[in-house]
């Protein structure tokens, strides 16, 4: 089954300079903790999202390292101060090095 793309909501893609922009983002990911076993009793190999990064242009504005306590389909909400226009890039990387990304263009009004 195809994985659905990340879901992202941004409070404003055309913020005023200095405005606080709120971002809500979620991906579909099993977040396999490594603590579970399959029906045969073998451990299911651990694979969680190890890193989430948000950049505005080249500038890193937010980084998160979810642990195994985070449930499947991890959701993250953060804010940043709108100082310049640019492309907001969100990147999720799991322990199998599979990535998902989402982009929003932020333009100062």
């Amino acid at each position: 089954m195809a994985v659905k793309p990340p879901r992202v909501w941004v409070s404003s893609v055309k913020p005023a300079r200095g405005e606080v922009v709120r971002v809500r983002a979620q991906i579909e990911h099993l977040m396999e903790s490594g603590l579970r076993v399959d029906p045969a009793g073998n451990p299911r190999p651990r694979n969680i999202v190890r890193s989430f990064e948000a950049r505005l242009g080249p500038q890193l504005i937010f980084r998160w390292e979810p642990g195994i306590g985070i449930a499947q389909n991890p959701y993250i909400e953060f804010t940043f101060l709108a100082r310049e226009s640019g492309e907001l890039l969100m990147l999720w990387t799991d322990e199998a090095n599979a990535t998902q990304e989402a982009r929003k263009t932020i333009t100062l009004s």
Partner: protein, 428 residues
Amino acid sequence: MTPFSRRHFLSALAAGSATLGCPALVRADGAAGRVVVVGGGFGGATAARYLKRLAPHLQVTLVEPAQRFHTCPFSNLYLAGLRSWDSIGHGYDGLRVAGVEVIHAMADDVDSARRTVRLSTGQSLAWDRLVLSPGVDMRWNALEGYDEAAATLAPHAWKAGPQTQLLRRQMEAMGDGGTFVMTIPDNPFRCPPGPYERAAMVAHYFSRHKPRAKILLLDAKDNFSKKALFLQGWKARYGDMIEWIGLSDDGQVTRVDAGQREVLTAFGQKHRADVLNVIPPQKAGVIAERAGIVDASGWVPVKAESFESRQVAGIYALGDATLAAPMPKSAFAANTQAKVAAAAIVAELTGKAAPVPAYANTCYSLIGPGYGISVAGVYQAEAGRIVEVPGSGGVSPLDGSPDFRAAEARYGDSWYAAMTADIWGQPG
């Protein structure tokens, strides 16, 4: 559709009727017995009519509560003001003349062991074969806060009837500059292009009467039928009036407050509406559940060759209630499924080999007067599954010429006239 696929389709149809045998042979064999058909819409009324046509000695009874059946197809044109309410209503005199017994009642329960169906009038009908074409019912409260009471404030208008007229009255009462919000469910649901045609038809009405109005579509999915064509058509005819928000952009609505005309999305965003049109998740019409032919999905699994239920022998199901993917839940699909089921039933009752089915579908959608688009498909049964015939079907070209769009709008009108005459018209 390519010329190749059309030929293929016609030859498949011809093969189907050859296997079926001509009506004279059926009469000689005396296809006796009684078939009860529940639901007088595109599936059921077609089945009743074609059963009688293929086997005139068969007793065919159609059970439908409405004296006049208003069609979902073209009900969006009624919302736009392009069609009168009466013009999308059809009575059952044509079927009666064709020899079908029509009973205006609800079917309340089915006893599949004793082969009877109980009606709201208290009457019980015995059947040798039962055809259920119940359409959809809403899954009340599947969307938090959206139940039958909420639908009187925020209509779904997804069954043509009082709900459709209520939505139209709300559009008329809305002030210029108001916001029309529509929430759209994930697949599967009745009429995949329907919400997007409705957006265009509502925009047509607003562009003439309330040019400052906005239309906001909150969708629980990222892709939809004829998406590129709709986005292009909306822009061409209505500029920025229609805004569509898909799943990736937090378009999924999780809660409805019909009293406040407010909806809440998965990420907690509130949208306020002046007119709120909630198209909720759906399931097969409730009589299908009573008959025991529905599976855990809420829909009816059917045999690809005949549309007989996979769960109960002797019961056939048609149209929107069925799991017939890749065929969409559309009127045209129900019509061709009904013809196949009618042929299969007559073959079975006369001890003939089952006919080879051929299925077709076209969905026309209107963006505005003189601007139509379409999607078409041809299907066959293969190893117990319905599959699209390779190379058949297709959608209207993107960037089609105005002449092309105008022609498709006319084809849509002709489709409606031909289809309703085939089903409800006086026998010719």
